[in-house]
Amino acid sequence: MSAIIILLFASISVAALFLAAFLWSVKSGQYDDEMSPPIRMLFDHKPAETKEETNI
């Protein structure tokens, strides 16, 4: 059953990696704005034909 050591090590490493990534994402402000990302992804960013501004 000592294979469990490897599995625990691998799983906890990956979990620690994800925990660190989560902490980074919160600290760097990824979740400060929960309103605009779901709306912003709906737009395509086609280049404007005229000189008018593209939305958002």
Partner: protein
């Protein structure tokens, strides 16, 4: 600030889309063939590569890695560029990734049909291909992370998190489960043995479901469903929360594939508990997807794409409720080894993965060819045909699963088993027939899609590079932190991934020799290594994929002990590289095949391989005439013994020198016995080795040697 003009690469998406469709059809065709073999064993064509044991891994690898794999890359390459507002990091890497992946698939098809297999489910590909997979996965990772790092949109939309988690975890799973010692160019032995191998295999296997079939497709769902409905995700907060919960919990669910086996109880319980907890994050995803369509249900009525997505997400919800429930021991006691598992798998595979793929293709093709879909009506008909196909597939399999499990467990009033194993198989043949009809409907639907796509492409004009513009990231953005933080912040992903991978590899290199090579003290003293002939026979068992129909794990249930004998103990499997417990009983369990009331003569086995119906009328097992005709290749014996010793099997030093001599002696003993039963074997046929292996099963721990019985 200046907006930058750039182009999204659609050519790579087109390539992956074509591959998805081609391998989808191929994978489904193989699936249909094996489904037919359940009631028409003659559909094996007396040809080794088309026996079920070799075709089943071809089907699973094709649909998982070729179909869903290419589909995932299609969706990721399209959505990642648009979410990061950047072209892929490197076009060269994109194409290396694409062609590398297809080369892997081609080599998989050839090797699996030739019988080059590790004998571990969804990890059958042998070691050279494992290395290729690792290299291509790294190429994919560099391309993906490179794109993320050169993004023009600072916020990482939730889909990107799913893609990152997929990449990291699949890398870890593949490497850990593929640790094997090569013996020849296309043969290796799992480093792990028995119970340990089982645990690592299903830690991998379930997480292949989680991080190959689920997380990337959830990411894809989070991009394409809102896009197709032109509605924002119902709750962005929910998507974040369920993402983190999902990836934390999923890793622990693996042992639910091993309930009531020789795996220690505490590990089984862990698997069950985490599997139940997994309902919540999984349903978070389903509800989020479905609620996104609030106020847009009229669009679902019009758009085939949305129809496919709705059924896909619903099937995802059903599977992720059923799966955890199947992880409850009392339910698993009924479902394990039956067609219930197959029903569960295919709702997820055909419903979630298949329908997401179809919806994706119907969405992407018109977009990339700058036209409308050739026929919405045809696509809608595909939708209905596919949905009905899923239902006609699943319901017979549920019926077959319940029925067979109940029949296995039925005792007469006198306290004996009421049904022979074979009776439980012939009883459910009508279910197998019906199931294949469901599969045909599903396949026909997919072919309708291919036709629709071809006509759409014909009337459109492909946009190879799609123009876009966006402002670059403001590099000097200051969140009010100190300078040294910002250096780390600029490269957090790369740093974390690389350092953790290095640490994990380093850790593994230290742990493996320490814990595994020394692990050669048998827990049961009577359990001894296989003889050279039995080892060769076992390798034939693995090669032919016998484990895809036969289990070797007697569970501690009254009916199993009555039918098969003593229930299986962990210590019996210490020399099994790889373990062969199996996941399905299309045929009976073989763990006690060499002892007690199950023991049959060598000639019984010979005739059974010649034509199973000779010894078991009504059997659906294919004929294995080629095993009787092929001569055993004994040139590999020494290398195999040596490799086994390296991974901890206590063959004496120098045993390689005499191994083949012992092999001959044992084989000739069997041949003489066969000759007395009027069976001539011109040389040591492969079947002799396989018979030797089967006659060894269960022998070590049987206390009283029983008289061999003529037949069952």
């Amino acid at each position: 600030m200046q907006v930058e003009k750039f182009y999204y690469d659609n050519k790579i998406v087109k390539a992956f889309a074509y591959a998805t469709m081609i391998f989808g059809i191929v994978g489904m065709l193989v699936g249909l063939l094996v489904a037919i073999q359940f009631y028409l064993p003659a559909a094996t064509f007396n040809f080794a590569p088309t026996t079920f044991g070799r075709l089943r891994p071809l089907h699973t690898n094709a649909v998982i890695f070729a179909f869903v794999g290419n589909c995932m890359f299609m969706g990721i390459y399209y959505s990642l560029q648009r979410l990061t507002k950047a072209r892929m990091f490197s076009d060269t890497l994109s194409w290396i990734h694409f062609w590398g992946w297809q080369a892997i698939i081609a080599s998989a098809a050839i090797t699996l049909l030739l019988g080059y297999t590790t004998g571990k489910e969804y990890a059958e590909l042998e070691w050279p291909i494992d290395i290729a997979i690792t290299l291509i996965w790294v190429v994919f990772g560099i391309n993906m992370f490179g794109t993320i790092l050169k993004r023009r949109e600072r916020h990482l939309y939730v889909a990107i998190w799913f893609y990152i988690a997929t990449w990291v975890t699949v890398a870890m799973l593949h490497i850990v489960n593929s640790i094997e010692i090569p013996v020849t160019l296309f043969k290796s032995y799992s480093w792990y043995a028995g119970v340990q191998d089982a645990l690592v295999q299903w830690w991998y296997g379930h997480n292949a479901v989680a991080f190959f079939l689920t997380t990337p497709i959830l990411g894809i769902m989070y991009y394409f469903l809102p896009k197709a409905a032109n509605r924002p995700v119902y709750s962005y907060r929910l998507s974040i929360i369920h993402f983190w919960a999902l990836i934390f919990l999923y890793i622990w669910a693996g042992p639910h594939h091993l309930l009531y086996t020789s795996l220690p109880d505490w590990a089984q319980s862990l698997g069950s508990v985490f599997s139940i907890m997994l309902i919540f994050p999984s349903w978070g995803g389903m509800l989020n997807g479905l609620f996104t369509l609030r106020g847009a249900w009229d669009k679902v009525r019009e758009e085939p794409v949305l129809k496919f997505f709705v059924v896909a997400v619903t099937c995802y919800g059903m599977s992720t409720l059923e799966g955890p429930l199947l992880s409850i021991k009392s339910i698993n006691a009924i479902s394990h080894f039956t067609d219930w598992t197959i029903a569960h798998v295919h709702i997820g595979a055909m419903g979630w993965n298949g329908f997401m793929a179809f919806g994706l293709i119907y969405f992407l093709v018109p977009k990339m060819w700058n036209t409308s879909l050739y026929s919405k009506k045809l696509a809608t008909n595909h939708f209905w045909l596919g949905t009905i196909g899923i239902v006609i597939y699943a319901i017979p399999m549920y019926w077959a699963g319940f029925t067979q499990a109940q029949m296995w467990k039925t005792f007469t009033e006198e306290g004996t088993l009421k049904f022979q194993f074979l009776e439980t198989v012939t009883h459910i043949i009508p279910m197998y027939v019906t199931r294949s009809i469901g599969g045909v409907l599903y396949l026909v639907g997919a072919l309708m899609m291919v036709y629709n796509v071809i006509r759409t492409i014909a009337k459109g004009s492909f946009i190879a590079n799609e123009a876009a513009e966006a402002a670059p990231l403001v590099k000097n953005e200051n969140h009010g932190r100190e300078y040294w933080h910002r250096v780390i912040e600029r490269k957090p992903l790369m740093m974390l991934v690389v350092s953790l991978i290095l640490v994990a590899i380093g850790g593994l290199l230290e742990l493996i020799p320490t814990f595994l090579v020394k692990e050669n003290i048998p827990t049961i003293t009577q359990v001894k290594p296989y003889t050279p002939l039995e080892l060769q026979g076992r390798d034939i068992y693995v090669r032919e994929g016998c484990y895809t129909c036969h289990s070797q794990m007697v569970r501690p249930f009254r009916d199993e002990v009555a039918r098969y004998g003593e229930y299986s103990k962990a210590g019996e499997f210490v020399y099994d590289h790889p373990f062969q417990w199996g996941s399905k009983r299309t045929g009976p369990d073989l763990a006690r095949e060499g002892v007690g009331r199950l023991k049959k003569t060598d000639s019984w086995h010979y005739n059974h391989f010649l034509d199973p119906r000779l010894m078991s009328p009504g059997s659906i097992m294919p004929s294995y005439v080629f095993l009787l005709e092929n001569t055993l290749d004994t040139s590999s014996t020494a290398a195999k013994i040596s490799a086994m010793r390296t991974i901890g099997v206590p063959y004496p030093e120098g045993y390689e020198q005499i191994a083949n001599k012992e092999l001959m002696t044992q084989a000739n003993g069997i041949r003489i016995g066969l000759k007395m039963d009027k069976i001539e074997t011109p040389a040591i046929a492969e079947v002799v080795a396989l018979i030797a292996y089967l006659q060894r099963l269960g022998k070590d721990i049987s206390t009283v040697p029983k008289e061999p019985t003529a037949s069952k």
